[in-house]
């Protein structure tokens, strides 16, 4: 038995209370309420529901694989090479991530995509490619080049080096990115509805239908549990894999990108241009439509119906910064706990923190309104918006931080402790410099998660404070050329803001810390 370390308990308490009060408790309350009315035997899982569950799993798996494949060339280019426009490219790919589904849906439909499984898969790749590129390249760019050089010296070909040296080192990061993409697509709602039509229902869509349209809470709760079990199973498999595959080695705290020379130049150019080009097609449709009139100027003028549209930007930014702060604090503390102590407790802790990303928004939203009325009535409070966003954003911070933290050899920390460093000093001087880059990647995602209004907020009563996505919905909710044009212009503002702020966060490399 080791002595209880109160410092760790304190660090663990913050994420534990957060996830406990804002996720486990509300979800348990609403599921309990639904199941209490369950008439066992009467509402069974019929063939249709099993088919929906099967389709949900199948499309999420396929979407994840396709996203990994589609992201590979760009990930390779931005991880290995330093070139002009690299930062811009990694910022641009996050733009699809925040765009409201209804906007992308309209763009896809106008391009002739629609009502097919291919449209759903293409949209899932479109939305999630950034998750893979950004999560994996954080690790890849800092692999000690000496490892690869040594393999070369020993006679390995480039492909052998990648397969035998680089890929095994990257597996934890690839698995981390894949787990997030899987959860996102497993709970896909808007994309499936808008691009698939009604025939391709996912569990998420069916839960919404049962809970909202039919108000069959017992069946909705049953489905929510099926969804939770599926997500938990996938996450459990992932965490076992993660633990088995993690290799510890010393990451460089600065990146090791080099200038591309010779044939590599052409390959890098090809990778970047094709990926960005493909992602740009729907975006260009958007930009073109936004410039077909004086719509940007109208955003700054007072509209009798929706007010001054541009004022939504301030609200969005405020919520996003608060959500990012909460998610980063909770996520980094959680990552420290998860990597600090091995064993099943920390594995389940990790898994629980991931669950909000894989739980239907209706479940969480209804959970909020039945559970959060006491002791302080948080329902319909402004604070609930960034908190709900943070709930979904914490997994991003955890997933981008844990692989890097795990790679730090225990001996390094032990050496520091032996030399007299306190646990907090070990964290500050050993872990933080190495991990800060990964934390920033997570923080940037937390920011865009909030800008894009992910999570339960769109499914729950909230103060009538317009954000950019809700303003886009308002404008798109009425007929007329200027309504449509202003919505497109607003979407472009959202895109530009996302790219700009992600670039800015990316720049905030913790340069002062220096190389470890």
């Amino acid at each position: 038995m080791t002595r209880i370390r109160w410092g760790w308990v304190a660090v663990a308490a913050v994420p534990a209370v957060f996830i406990g009060y804002f996720f486990i408790y509300p979800v348990a309350r609403i599921l309990g309420l639904g199941l209490a009315e369950l008439d066992v035997g009467a509402s069974g899982l019929d063939a249709r529901l099993l088919r929906i569950a099967g389709f949900t799993l199948w499309q999420a798996t396929l979407s994840t694989i396709l996203t990994l494949v589609a992201a590979a060339p760009l990930t390779w280019a931005v991880s290995t090479y330093e070139f002009r426009g690299r930062r811009l490219a990694t910022a641009l790919i996050t733009v699809p991530f925040v765009l409201p589904t209804v906007v992308v849906g309209t763009a896809f439909v106008s391009l002739g995509f629609g009502d097919s499984i291919w449209a759903i898969l293409a949209a899932h790749v479109f939305f999630n490619i950034a998750v893979v590129v950004r999560t994996v390249s954080t690790l890849w760019s800092r692999i000690d080049p000496q490892l690869e050089e040594a393999a070369h010296v020993l006679g390995a070909t480039s492909w052998q080096v990648f397969r035998r040296v680089t890929l095994p080192l990257l597996k934890p990061a690839i698995a981390a990115a894949a787990s997030i993409v899987f959860l996102f697509t497993f709970t896909s709602f808007g994309v499936v509805l808008i691009l698939g039509g009604f025939e391709f229902a996912t569990l998420e869509v069916e839960i919404y239908r049962q809970a909202v349209t039919l108000f069959d809470l017992p069946l909705a709760a049953t489905l929510a549990i099926v969804q939770l079990v599926g997500v938990t199973g996938a996450l459990y498999a992932y965490s076992r894999y993660q633990e088995r595959k993690t290799v510890t080695w010393t990451l460089e705290s600065a990146s090791n990108r080099r200038a591309p020379i010779g044939p590599a130049r052409a390959l890098v150019a090809l990778s970047v241009l094709t990926t960005i080009g493909a992602l740009s097609i729907p975006l260009l449709a958007l930009v073109t439509r936004s410039f077909s009139g004086e719509f940007y100027r109208s955003l700054f003028e007072s509209d009798p119906v929706v007010g001054r549209p541009i004022s939504a930007v301030g609200n969005s930014l405020l919520f996003a910064f608060i959500a990012m702060g909460i998610a980063t604090l909770v996520g980094v503390m959680a990552a420290a706990v998860i990597t600090g102590r091995r064993g099943s407790l920390s594995r389940w802790f990790d898994l629980t923190l991931m669950l909000p990303l894989g739980t239907s928004a209706v479940t969480i939203g209804f959970g909020f309104i039945v559970a959060l009325g006491w002791p302080v009535d948080l329902r319909a409070s402004l604070w609930l918006i960034p908190i709900a966003h943070a709930l979904v954003a914490v997994p991003f911070v955890v997933r981008s931080t844990v692989p890097t933290l795990r790679s730090i050899p225990a001996e390094t920390r032990e050496a520091a402790s032996v030399l007299g460093a306190s646990p907090s000093r070990v964290w500050r001087e050993i872990d933080l410099p190495i991990v800060s880059r990964a934390v920033l990647v997570g923080a940037a995602f937390a920011f865009v998660v909030s800008l894009g209004e992910f999570g339960a907020t769109s499914f729950v009563a909230r103060p009538n404070t317009p954000t950019i996505p809700t303003m886009i919905f308002r404008l798109l909710g009425r007929p007329g050329e200027t309504s449509f044009g202003m919505a497109m212009a607003m979407a472009v503002v959202l895109a530009a803001l996302t790219a700009g702020i992600v670039m800015w966060i990316d720049r905030a490399q913790v340069g002062e810390v220096g190389r470890f």
Binding site: G197, T213, T470
Partner: protein, 349 residues
């Protein structure tokens, strides 16, 4: 009496006094009344919307947006004992039964209820009609001019391949106008004929969109799509005039007057409110001429109060169909799920 008992007694008495004070004081003049509404109503609320009400009563109105109409009603039911708001607005006939069955509203006979067309009024006054809108097929005038085809007169005309292949409807399970249009066909062709009608439309190539957004801005010819006709609202043409890029006097779209379905939206005082009187005042205000006259140009629906004057652009470009289809809330509640499932079998099976 022991010392402890005395203390307990004193504390209890104090608590009672405090409770009486707080509830008594707030019952008379709440600072703020909370109005729960669906997103599309909340989206049109600005500082000016309830300013006259606040001026008159000294009560501020806080608006919370609660998602679509179905989400809103369910949230109101789930929080029946500890409501999120004092007044709910935006429940329509398709979800009304559920709300009434759960008894989430207090009875209140609004001041101007006598000025509302009787067929819109709930006889038990659990809810108050505030506005109505007609879901109708819209068509692109330029398309019909360029093809010199006649605009179809009614739903039956749409059976022809020529027309049905140029029509986009919304899915009744995911879209409120989609559901309304399905109801219009049931009203028109009856239980025995409506599914055949849809089978004909399907055979002729009707297009089904998920929601109004993707139908209107994705599939409608006016916005670059393939369909010259789309299920929208009778008030969409005036919106096209108001939100046109170049100022114009003629609407680019028209409305087919036959085969419309009337949607009515109601407000109600939520049972469990601490301020029933103030809440009732807000409902009265929403039915008063002053508020009612702001409805058309903000939410593009028609005021329920017949004394409210329509803005000129509505008089010029909007249509109020003569005999729109309408079913009672109870009849819809009984049959909706079956109808939607039957529709899905015909359209997707």
């Amino acid at each position: 009496m022991s010392r402890t008992q005395t203390t307990v007694g004193a504390v209890m008495a104090l608590a009672l006094v405090l409770a009486a004070c707080s509830s008594g004081a707030s019952e008379e003049s709440p600072q703020t009344i909370t109005l729960m509404a669906h997103d599309s109503f909340a989206g049109g609320v600005t500082d000016a919307t309830f300013a006259p009400f606040t001026q008159e009563t000294g009560i501020e109105v806080k608006v919370i947006a609660a998602g679509d109409a179905g989400l809103m009603v369910n949230q109101a039911i789930l929080t029946k004992d500890n409501p999120l708001a004092d007044v709910l607005f935006g429940v329509d006939d398709t979800f009304l039964s559920r709300a009434l069955d759960e008894e989430i509203f207090l009875i209140h006979k609004a001041k101007d209820i006598g000025r509302v067309a009787p067929d819109l009024v709930d006889r038990k006054h659990r809810v108050t009609p505030i506005d109505f809108g007609d879901v109708c097929i819209n068509y692109d005038k330029s398309w019909f001019e360029s093809t010199s085809l006649a605009v179809p007169d009614d739903l039956a005309d749409l059976r022809a391949n020529l027309y049905a292949s140029h029509l986009t409807v919304e899915h009744p399970a995911t879209s409120s106008p989609g559901l309304a249009f399905m109801l219009a066909t049931i009203f028109e062709f009856g239980e025995e004929g409506w599914l055949d009608y849809w089978a004909d439309l399907r055979r002729a190539g009707v297009n089904v969109a998920t929601d109004w957004n993707s139908a209107y801005y994705g599939d409608f010819f006016r916005y670059g799509g393939q369909s010259s006709m789309v299920v929208s609202y009778a008030s969409s043409p005036p919106a096209e005039v108001i939100f046109a890029e170049e100022p114009t006097d003629t609407a680019p779209t028209g409305v087919i007057e036959a085969g419309c379905y009337r949607q009515v939206e109601y407000a109600g005082v939520l049972a469990g409110t601490d301020f029933p009187e103030a809440a009732a005042k807000l409902v009265d205000y929403m039915l008063s001429v002053g508020f009612q006259e702001t409805i058309p140009l903000t939410w593009f629906v028609f005021p329920a109060n017949q004394d409210a004057e329509l803005p000129q652009v509505f008089v010029d470009h909007a249509i109020v169909p003569e005999d729109p289809a309408r079913f009672s809330a109870g009849y819809i509640a009984e049959n909706r799920d079956r109808w939607i499932n039957e529709w899905i079998v015909v359209m997707e099976g």
